[in-house]
Amino acid sequence: MKIHHILIAGVASLALVQVGRACIEELDLAQMVAKTDAAVNGTITNVRTVRYTPPGDDRLIYTLVTVAGTDLYTGQARTLEAAFVGGTHEGDSMMVTSMPAPSEYRVGNSVILFSAPVEGWGPDVERCVYAAMGGIFREIAGKKGAVILGKGEGFAVSQNVRLADLQTSIAKEVGMKK
């Protein structure tokens, strides 16, 4: 049990120090739910990148992450593709401080991904990972069920929390949103 806690704390700390660097909105869970229209808990099934040059600006590279699972806002099965700025496309790298750590968006990872529609991100991107590094959270297996790894103060999931408890909290916030 004790070792188990150390493991979770270790993974959580690792995630915390590896997250990207940028200035993001401070979002608690209620604010995140209010600003997004989907929170898919599932498995990352695909990661791809696209390049887009907005009119009058320089080229941007977006990383698009596909998550297949359950939308915690509706309880329905959902496969969702959402993007964040930054990545490497055909050898062209754009590394930015708002990106999640690469270990967070690997294919096969179990995650919760908060998402909202975006505009002006080009023809390939309709949705974003909301707050980029602040919108994706790893899930690991715990002794008493799945655990979502928190990222610290200022993030929607600040502390490690059982998935079941987070689902309850999200359902409560969704109910208030309606």
């Binding site: 493991l7 120090v17 940028a22 708002s98 529609p117 919108g135």
Partner: protein, 434 residues
């Protein structure tokens, strides 16, 4: 037992990783593992901010002259990371002084840029499109330069005092410049480098102890040998004699002034340098003559002439002087300067404001002329080689065949570019047709 052992080993590996990556419990800062060399200390602003509040401060301040609006907010954000107090430290009513870094590091504000620049050109600018919950980001790696983008969907505010609504540009810029100088995020709530910003973000204007510790970990504490400017006196006009008093001056010093170049490339980040200045008074005084042009008012720094260590650039000091007319900010080149009749010549324009109308003039004299109040090197234009609009990067090119009538003539060419109500000129090129 086997499972437990595996679990323990896994935990040990993870804990080891944490020990390698995370700061110890006494500190909250983290480092990117890179530093900005002396040649990358500049920062500029392409002022394309669209929010009305981003540029509604029209008041300049004595300690940071010649700039207002978003420019002043950016300048103050960089000055806060300075090793020592900037000038007399005044200029921001929300904090006791500007310049708190205490590390061997100083940013160098170089005014406006004419475009967003490349990823290593050290330019701040707004980026269009939905923010998706991100206020701003810094493009990395930073060791050979950076670029900071601010999402245009936020209601940016330039202050200069307390900001009660929208997002404080100076505060967010201070955070992003922390990344630019090599800091990651801090786990200390209230630190400028804390990853998220609540409210307007104004509180992040002032760096905290943990931020200073991070800067010192990356560059070392302020080196006692770092040049220091105490006063700047004399005649601050072209041709005037200026005296800098301070300490840490050597037998070979450089004075860095804000450059009048505003192009979107690396050249615009270069300060205007007056070199080969020996100090007097036991390293406490530097005297130099202001040139006729090439610089603008803003800040002044002293750079050790031979040493390029992190500490070799002084903190900034206000320098309220205007140079001569700002000229030749656009670049004009030709594939040949002696093209024979009938040959093809390509003229290339670069470093101009983007998406702006240009005219490539020609004249048969080089007596100088004035167009829209801007001095040109050519005589009154005798005609137009080409006109059009510059591209996103401020460039254009045109190819022409040398006409028969040009044989034996000398032709002077210069580019006019109009942007934002301002006329810019290029260098003059001289074509001698055999």
């Amino acid at each position: 037992m086997k499972n437990l052992l595996r679990f323990t080993l896994g935990g040990a590996v993870l804990t080891g990783s944490v020990l390698l990556l995370a700061p110890n419990s006494a500190v909250g800062y983290s480092l990117l593992g890179q530093q900005l060399g002396i040649g990358q200390r500049d920062h500029r602003l392409f002022n394309n901010f669209t929010a009305s509040g981003a540029n509604n401060n029209t008041a300049t301040i004595a300690n940071m002259p010649a700039y207002d609006g978003a420019e002043l907010a950016m300048w103050k954000a960089g000055a806060e990371w300075g090793a020592r107090v900037f000038g007399d430290g005044t200029g921001d009513s929300t904090q006791t002084q500007l310049g708190d870094g205490l590390a061997s590091f100083n940013f160098y504000w170089n005014g406006n840029a004419s475009g967003i620049g490349g990823t290593n050109d050290n330019i701040h600018s707004e980026i269009p499109g939905s923010s998706g919950g991100v206020l701003a980001f810094t493009e990395t790696p930073i060791d050979n330069g950076w670029r900071i983008r601010y999402y245009g969907t936020w209601s940016w505010q330039d202050g200069p005092g307390s900001v009660t609504s929208g997002i404080d540009l100076q505060g967010v810029a201070c955070h992003e410049l922390g990344h630019a100088l090599g800091l990651g995020h801090s786990t200390v709530g209230g630190a400028t480098m804390f990853p998220s910003i609540s409210g307007t973000g104004q509180v992040t204007r002032s760096i905290e102890t943990d931020d200073k510790n991070g800067a010192q970990a990356n560059y070392g504490a302020t080196n006692a040998a770092m040049p220091r400017i105490n006063t700047v006196t004399g005649s601050l006009v072209p041709g005037g004699t200026v005296v800098i008093t301070g300490s840490g001056f050597t037998a070979d010093n450089k004075v860095w002034l804000d450059n009048d170049l505003i192009d979107g490339g690396n050249a615009g980040g270069e300060p205007f340098k007056i070199e080969g200045l020996a100090s007097t008074g036991g390293g406490t005084q530097i005297t130099f003559t202001l040139p006729a042009s090439g610089y603008v008012g803003g800040s002044i720094h002293v750079k050790d002439g031979t040493n390029n260590d992190f500490w070799s650039l002084s903190e900034g000091h206000p320098f309220d002087a205007l140079g001569g007319p700002i000229t030749d900010t656009v670049s004009l080149t030709s594939t040949s300067l002696t093209p024979p009749v009938g040959s093809s010549v390509t003229f290339t324009i670069s470093a101009a404001p983007g998406f702006s109308p240009y005219i490539l003039h020609y004249a048969f004299t080089n007596t100088g002329t004035t167009i829209n109040g801007q001095p040109f090197d050519i005589g009154p234009p005798d005609g137009t080689v080409s006109s059009g609009t510059t591209d996103i990067l401020g460039g254009a090119s045109v190819t022409r065949i040398v006409p028969v009538g040009g044989a034996g003539r000398t032709v002077y060419m210069e580019t006019q570019v109009d942007s934002g109500g301002v006329t810019y000129d290029s260098n003059m090129i001289t074509l001698v047709v055999p």
